[in-house]
Structure formats: C-alpha cells, structure tokens
C-alpha cells in the first residue's frame, strides 16, 4: 500500500517537478514569474491531442512537434508582449503573463467548447507486478521520460557554460551584458525552454487524465507549491519540491480524505511560507523592514 502510493505520487510528482522546473527556468533568467504557465501546460496537452487524435501522428513525433511549437510560442510571447514592458514593475509583467494564459485558454475553449476530451492511452504495456506493487506503463513512461530529461538538463547546466550564463543573468543582467552575453537572446531562449518544458508536462499528463481548457489552473498552483517547498528560484529545489508534493498528495488522499488531494498544494504553500519562507533550498524570501 505504502509502496503503491509512493509510486503513484512519484509519477504525479515528476509532472509537478517538470512544471516547477520550467517556471524556475524562466524566473531565474528573466526574474518574471509566469502566472500564465498553467495554460502553457494546457496548450501542450491540447497540441499533442490535436496531433495524435485529429492529425493521426504517432505519439512521440507529436510530442516533439508540440514542444517545438510551444518553444516558438514562448519566444514569440517574450518578444512581442514581455519585452515592450520589460522595464516596468513586476505587477505589469505578471499581469501580462496572466493575459497570455487567458488568451491560450480562450483559444482552447473556442475550438473545444465545454467538452472534456479523453486521450487514447499511449503505452499499452501490461502492468508489471512486483509483489503487491502494480507498476503501470504510464508510470514507467512518465518517470522515465522526466528522469532522462532532468539528467540532460542538469548535465548541461553543470558541464557546459550554460549554468554559469544562467547564474550571471540572474545576478545582474547588466553585468552579463558587460561580459558580452546577449541577454535579450538569452531571455528568448529561456522563455522558449520554459514553455517547451511546461508543455511537456501537459503532454505527459494528457494520456492519463481528461483534457479541458481549465486544466492549467491547478497545475499552476502545484508548480508554485513545488517551487515554494523546494525554495523559490532553486532549480534542484523545484524538482525535489515537485516530487515531495506528488507523494504528499497521495498520502493525504489515502490516509486522510480523498478530497484533500486537491488542496494539499495550497496547504503546502501556506505552511511553507509561514514556517520556512525560504523553502528547503532557497535563499531568504522575507523582507525585513
């Protein structure tokens, strides 16, 4: 029972980790918190649905295409809407992200109305039985994909100059410019990567859940909960926070009440900000005045 819950939580938590990571990537390199990110996740899920069900593309190429499309969309969003108000205060930037999210949601609803769409299962693998534990194909697929991606991501960050560039831009965009980094292009790239990673979260979740245009809102909260738990702005913290949140949800649902699955994230946000605002690995989040 405990093992089964942990596995379920792990596979759900991997999705949250991905969403929190993609939020953090954008935040670290542009200091913008994308309050419309949930809808980027939703857009990824819908794009993969369109490609798989309506256009008949196989799942893997469809996922790749959807991610590329979302990368382009992220870059376009940064260039067209974020850059013109770049110098303004954080409220304007956050509102712009919200507006973009609603635009995506509006488009999704215009096309699909109020329907709920089921996606055909992608991995028709027979479940593996290990003792009492049932390991489904979906769980293997989700955990495997995210693990590979995380290895790739953190490998690139640690072994190439990319990690140092992220740090440089995070600490001082002007300083980064002085040493010859093209900060504008770097921001474009970060928005693209953030949007594509978020979309992948949606793509992975699509086959195991029902799709509807409002699905982004809850993923946004879960991404924030994971980020807050791990420490706002910490890349590794976001991943760990996501996994812990996924597992906590399953435990709360099984041992306390199933209705609690939905609000575990809110409770985590409130509890962390009151007890340890900097999260597990973050820097200080508190204003001392």
């Amino acid at each position: 029972m405990l093992m089964q819950l942990t596995l379920g939580g792990l596979s759900q938590g991997m999705i949250y980790a991905l969403i929190a990571l993609s939020l953090t990537v954008v935040y670290r390199s542009t200091t913008v918190v994308n309050f419309g990110h949930g809808d980027f996740v939703m857009a990824g899920a819908f794009l993969s649905y369109v490609l798989v069900v309506l256009a008949g593309v196989a799942f893997l190429p469809a996922a790749a295409l959807a991610m590329i499309a979302m990368f382009v969309l992220g870059v376009m969003f940064n260039r067209g809407l974020i850059r013109p108000i770049r110098g303004g205060p954080h409220i304007g930037l956050a509102l712009m992200c919200i507006a973009a999210g609603y635009l995506l949601r509006g488009i999704a609803r215009m096309v699909w109305g109020r329907e709920v769409l089921p996606m055909p299962p992608v991995f028709d693998m027979a479940p593996i039985f290990v003792g009492d534990l049932v390991i489904t194909g979906d769980a293997v697929f989700i955990i495997g994909t995210v693990l590979v991606l995380l290895l790739l991501f953190f490998g690139l960050m640690a072994l190439t100059d990319l990690g140092k560039m992220v740090q440089a831009v995070y600490q001082s965009p002007r300083g980064a410019r002085l040493i010859g980094l093209n900060v504008d292009r770097f921001n474009d790239f970060s928005w693209g990567v953030g949007a594509a990673l978020g979309a992948l979260g949606g793509i992975l979740v699509a086959p195991v859940s029902l799709l509807h245009p409002d699905l982004g809102a809850s993923f946004l909260i879960k991404g924030f909960a994971a980020m807050t738990l791990g420490g706002f702005g910490s890349l590794g913290g976001a991943v760990l926070g996501g996994v812990l949140l996924g597992i906590a949800e399953q435990y709360a649902g099984a041992y306390l009440d199933t209705a609690l699955i939905e609000i575990t994230a809110y409770v985590v946000i409130v509890a962390v900000l009151f007890i340890r605002p900097q999260g597990l690995f973050g820097r200080k989040a508190v204003v001392k005045v």
Partner: protein
C-alpha cells in the same frame, strides 16, 4: 510631477461633480427597461469589486489574486445568513463586508511574516483556489455545485426581486463605499498605503508599521468587495460557485487596468465600461477569455495607466493625489 494639481475652485467643481453623478443616476430607472436596469445594477456591483481590487494592486502595489475570493465570501455569507439564519438581506451587507475583511486578513496575514511580492501573490492565489474548493465541498453550507438560492424577501412592501428597488440600494451602498474609500486614501493611512508602494523601506524608516498597513489595506479591500458580494447575491438571486471563478478574476484585472491602476475614478470607469460588453460574448465559448486577455495585454502595452491617465491630461479636476505616471 509634471501634472498641475487642481486649484481651489476646481476642487469645488470636483466635489460638485462627485455628488451630481449619483443625483442624476437617481433618475436613471425612469429611462431604462428591465434588461438595461439589470445591467446597470451589475455595473454598480462591478464598481465596488474593481474599487476593492485597485486598492491592493494599484494603491498598495501588491499583486493580489484574492479579490475574487473576497467576492465569493461576501456573496456566500450573505446567502447563508439570509437563507439559513433568516437575517434580513439589508443587514447581511455589512456582515458580508465583515466576512470579506476577515478573508482579507487571512489572505494577507503572511505579510506580518515579511512575505511580499511574488510570495504574497502566490499565497493570495492559493487562498482564492482554496475558497473555490470550499464552495464546492462544504455542501451542507453552500449547496455545492447547485449553489444557493436567495430567500424571497420584501422591503417596504416591495419584493426584493424588483430591479428598481435594488438599484437604489446598490447606488446608496456604492456611493457610501466610494466616498469612504476616497476619504481613507486622503487620510494619513492612505498616504502610508501609497508610500509602501513607492518604497517600503523608506516608509518603515518613518516609523510606519508597513506590514500592518498592508494587512489593513487588504482588509478594507475585503470589506468593500465583501459588500459587493452581498449585493451580487441579491442581484442574480442565486449564488453559484462558477460566478467566482477564473473568468471573474480576469474581468476584474481588465476593469482595474482599463480604468487605471490605483485610481478610484478609473475603477468606476473600467467597471462601467466592461460590465455590459461581455454580456454579448457569453454565447460564444472562449470569447470572454480572449476579449479580456486582449484588453489586459493591449492596455499594458499601449496605455499602462488606463483611462484615468488620459482624463488627467484633459483637466486637473481628474488628478488624484499621489497618482503615478507609470505602473
């Protein structure tokens, strides 16, 4: 500040104008049909919602998402008090305001721990989602997805389903709360609110307890929006959880931005302009999201301080204290 402040005579004209508007509006029910009257009532509710919202994001400068939650708390507490405890609706208005203020306290209590900007925004976002969850799951109290009907009631022998009667009550509450908010923003406290927006550390160095200022602003915002919730419950006659969802949030953001962040005049203008339009879009799924999304994005790029900033250029009469040129 490049703008000329209004002269003594212009200030007098402004006071006159302020009272002339509701005076003229008293005659409005003579010219409307039932549908336009219903829309006019909705506008008054939106004015209060936008007013409460612009206080936290415009005047205080803290990104807050909890506004829709205060609205829902107000509407549900009015409905519950009226339907379950038999409290007369008129009396539930200040009570709903008090519950809204309590919501404001809970949503911003983290400010006392030094939580600001993004963190505060996330906490208020979580608070809003938590309330939506509560409407759906506290079935014995809220009726779950079926919502709650408002009980039949009469006032002075007229049924409270009468839109003209509602209009006069709504107008009185709106004028009262707008005036109270204007006065509050002119007071020592109001200056402190805007000082926190400009520079919190400098404000704190003047011995102003900034966390408490944030908390009280949220509570007043919650009070205003809570009262609006009570009006709304009577306005539509049935409280549903969907009324306090994501669509209401973006609509409120759009109203605040179109009017002008942190401007009372702007809150009124934005609410009046944007209440009627979406009525026509409701038939087409997704159009409301697109409409409000485009408005928010467009205003941010083209006119970041909204209509109030245009009016300021027309005449100093429209200049409000401590307004900002840019968001």
């Amino acid at each position: 500040m490049s703008q000329i402040m209004p002269s003594a005579r212009q200030r007098k004209t402004r006071t006159l104008l302020f009272w002339a508007v509701p005076a003229v509006l008293l005659l409005l029910p003579l010219t409307t049909n039932p549908y336009t009257q219903f829309i006019a009532n909705g506008m008054l509710v939106s004015v209060l919602v936008t007013l409460g919202f612009t206080l936290t994001i415009g005047n205080l400068g803290q990104l807050a998402f909890a506004n829709t939650a205060f609205f829902g708390i107000g509407a549900y507490s009015s409905a519950i008090l009226a339907a379950k405890l038999g409290v007369p609706w008129l009396l539930t208005i200040p009570l709903a305001g008090a519950f809204g203020a309590l919501g404001g306290f809970l949503a911003s209590a983290a400010a006392l721990r030094g939580i600001r900007t993004y963190y505060l925004a996330i906490i208020t976002l979580a608070f809003g989602e938590l309330m939506r969850w509560a409407y759906l799951h506290a079935k014995p109290l809220t009726g779950g997805t079926d919502g709650m009907p408002m009980p039949r009631e009469t006032l002075l022998g007229i049924s409270l389903t009468d839109d003209t009667l509602k209009f006069y009550i709504f107008l009185a509450v709106t004028v009262l709360l707008v005036k109270a908010t204007l006065n509050l923003m002119r007071s020592h406290f109001g200056r402190a609110v805007m000082a926190v927006r400009e520079n919190e550390i400098a404000t704190a160095s003047l011995a102003i307890p900034t966390a408490r200022v944030i908390l009280v602003t949220f509570m007043w915002s919650g009070f205003v929006v809570g009262c609006a919730g009570a009006l709304f419950a009577r306005h539509v006659g049935h409280v549903f959880p969907e009324s306090f969802g994501m669509l209401h949030l973006i609509a409120s953001f759009a109203m605040v931005l179109v009017g002008g962040l942190g401007s009372v005049l702007g809150a009124v203008l934005g609410a009046v302009l944007l209440t009627a339009l979406p009525e026509y879009l409701r038939a087409f799924p997704g159009m409301e999201e697109l409409f409000f999304g485009l408005i928010v994005a467009g205003v941010l790029v083209a006119m970041p301080m909204g209509l109030a900033s245009l009016l300021r250029r027309v005449s100093p009469i429209f200049v409000e204290r401590f307004y900002r040129e840019a968001p």
